[in-house]
């Protein structure tokens, strides 16, 4: 099914901070149209891995690949230019700004030239509405401050924004961590829709239930090492995932 090279991959990535090894020889693939779940307890190395993939830290050893070709990101901006986007848990949106201002923040379209160069506000509003409709995010008014939306809606808007900005690989950092059950369901549903649109999703979570609900493949990190990477959900039950994460696996 996945003959193509992965959109985004880590190959044998090790990352040290001084003498501390945060990540050791980690390999992971993110394929277009699939949700890869990155699981692990706090401190397992999840954050380090996504920061390497997002261009925040260069790997100490190993390499990052985009479409099968090795890349060395100079910065997060550079990674974004390669189509890699990260939606951080609580640093994704600006609550006091309207939905459409958030949606186009940092890539605002303009009309006119010279001193009359101005925001294409009508275009922004229409495009935001269209993009949200396309992902079935129901928001009555794109002029509302984003902070008045529910937590799940906020995450969904942030995800839709990254896809609209051209992300081909989307790294989601604990998108459901701060949410209740119903709101989590909303976000997971939205993630599946993004996947079906062909985007490669890396879902970082420490909640195995959420992972099973949305994931096509599972990578489990423990103490900086990949302890399991399994593709099919067949046989990947909740009990097995929890076991792998907590370290009581049958192989140990």
């Amino acid at each position: 099914m996945t003959r193509h090279a992965p959109v985004l991959a880590a190959r044998g990535v090790t990352r040290r901070f001084g003498r501390v090894t945060a990540l050791a020889d980690a390999t992971l693939e993110v394929h277009g149209g699939r949700v890869t779940c990155l699981l692990g307890d706090n401190g397992a190395g999840k954050s380090t891995l996504i920061k390497v993939l997002a261009g925040v830290h260069p790997p100490t050893e190993g390499r990052v690949e985009v479409d099968g070709r090795p890349v060395a990101f100079a910065s997060p901006r550079d990674a974004q230019r390669h189509g890699i986007a990260v939606v951080y848990q609580d640093l994704a949106v600006i609550p006091l700004m309207s939905v459409w201002r958030n949606f186009f923040l940092g890539r605002e379209p303009t009309v006119g030239r010279g001193p009359l160069r101005r925001l294409d506000t009508a275009g922004c509003r229409a495009a935001t509405r269209e993009a949200l409709d396309a992902f079935a995010i129901r928001i009555d008014d794109v002029d509302r401050p984003l902070g008045t939306l529910s937590g799940g809606e906020r995450q969904s808007v942030a995800i839709a924004r990254a896809v609209h900005a051209g992300a081909r690989a989307l790294i989601l950092d604990e998108p459901t961590a701060a949410l209740g059950v119903r709101q989590s369901g909303l976000v997971l549903e939205h993630i599946r829709r993004v996947r079906d649109a062909g985007v490669g999703v890396l879902l970082v979570t420490h909640n195995p239930k959420d992972a099973l609900a949305a994931g096509d493949a599972f990578v489990v990190l423990r103490q900086g090492r990949v302890v399991a990477a399994e593709a099919a959900p067949a046989g990947m039950g909740l009990a097995r995932l929890v076991e792998l994460m907590s370290g009581g696996g049958p192989q140990s």
Binding site: L91, V93, M97
Partner: protein, 343 residues
């Protein structure tokens, strides 16, 4: 009030209010006007009375508009008052001691203010210290320098005689002309507010200003040049102070090293009364205009009603407190609903 038909997200009237942060200040200005119209009557309502409070509001308004933009971006500039003093002394020293014609001296003073703004901005962005502290330091440094250097060079802290300098007549026309009882600085004030509103609501830079104050980390993640935005706004506040310095020096044909004392706080108060959040991320230039207008009306109104002018400060303090409480309630309504996922 919220009935069962309204969503859990709160009444729409609140959104309308917080979406337009200047509405509260506009209502406040109207109330203030009505109050003094009744209490002070004719003298307040006359053309001269109207001109008096607009003239008083203009210099503060020029500062408040720039300060509001900076506050929306999440920073304070306490140095604007002393920049007025330092800029007007520099201007006077250049023309009186160095013998420069007025216009080159104005250009050099503006360049000096750009440097002050760049310095403030660079220090804040580079050190990550609160701008409150950094610009409190520059407040004292510039005020001290203005007094010490002027005294060292001239033996005085007040300089006059600007009317004899080449270029004065043209400068008078631009910065200190009178249109009947109205001063031209009112036009500068309104023009600045118009430009600031345009920038804030209709340009990319405006979007970045809101983002810099509303969530600097999120903005940076999305590629917004937060540091550059802030530095540019520190330059804007310093240039606004420069404009006030030039307007006043030309009008009074001289300057005093102490000029502008306390203006930094009045500008912040005007911005806050205008609906700008102390914590950044929300506010408007039009609100700052109304904030300054309220200032001017209270000041003139008190004089006209014969109340002891000492009460002016009490009223200001009370208005500031009221505005902050109101703004904070609005902000909470805007930012903290629905975040718990308990829909």
């Amino acid at each position: 009030m919220p009935g069962p038909s309204l969503s859990h997200r709160g009444p729409r009237a609140l959104f309308a209010l917080v979406r337009r942060p200047e509405l509260g200040a506009a209502a406040g200005a109207l109330l203030t006007w009505a109050f003094f119209a009744v209490i002070a009557g004719g003298p307040f309502l006359s053309l001269d009375g109207t001109a008096a409070y607009l003239n008083a509001a203009a210099p503060l308004g020029i500062l408040a508009v720039a300060v509001a933009l900076l506050m929306i971006a999440g920073e304070f500039d306490l140095s604007v008052g002393s920049v007025i003093g330092a800029a007007s002394m520099l201007l006077m020293l250049l023309v009186a001691e160095a013998g420069w014609p007025l216009w080159p001296a104005i250009a050099a003073t503006a360049a000096f203010c750009v440097l002050v703004g760049l310095g403030n901005g660079w220090l804040v962005v580079r050190t990550g210290l609160p701008s409150f502290i950094v610009t409190l330091a520059t407040l004292f440094i510039l005020r001290g320098l203005a007094i010490a250097l002027t005294r060292a060079v001239t033996g005085r802290t007040q300089l006059g005689g600007l009317q004899d300098v080449p270029g004065y007549d043209a400068a008078r026309l631009v910065f200190a002309a009178d249109l009947g009882p109205f001063r031209v600085s009112i036009l500068w004030w309104l023009a600045m507010a118009a430009v600031a509103t345009w920038v804030l609501l209709r340009t990319r830079a405006g979007n970045w200003i809101f983002a810099a104050g509303g969530g600097a980390d999120a903005a940076r993640n999305l590629g917004v040049p937060v540091a550059r935005v802030k530095v540019a706004l520190f330059v804007a506040t310093a240039l606004a102070a420069c404009l006030v310095a030039v307007v006043q020096a030309v009008r009074f044909t001289g300057a005093d090293a102490l000029r502008g004392e306390g203006q930094e706080f009045r500008a912040i108060i005007a911005a806050v009364i205008g609906g700008t959040l102390l914590t950044g991320g929300h506010g408007s230039a039009v609100g700052a205009v109304f904030g300054a207008l309220i200032f001017g009306m209270v000041r003139q109104g008190i004089v006209l009603t014969g109340v002891d002018a000492d009460w002016f400060q009490v009223i200001l303090g009370a208005m500031l407190l009221g505005a902050v409480v109101f703004n904070e309630a609005a902000r909470r309504g805007l930012a903290e609903r629905g975040g718990d996922g308990s829909a």
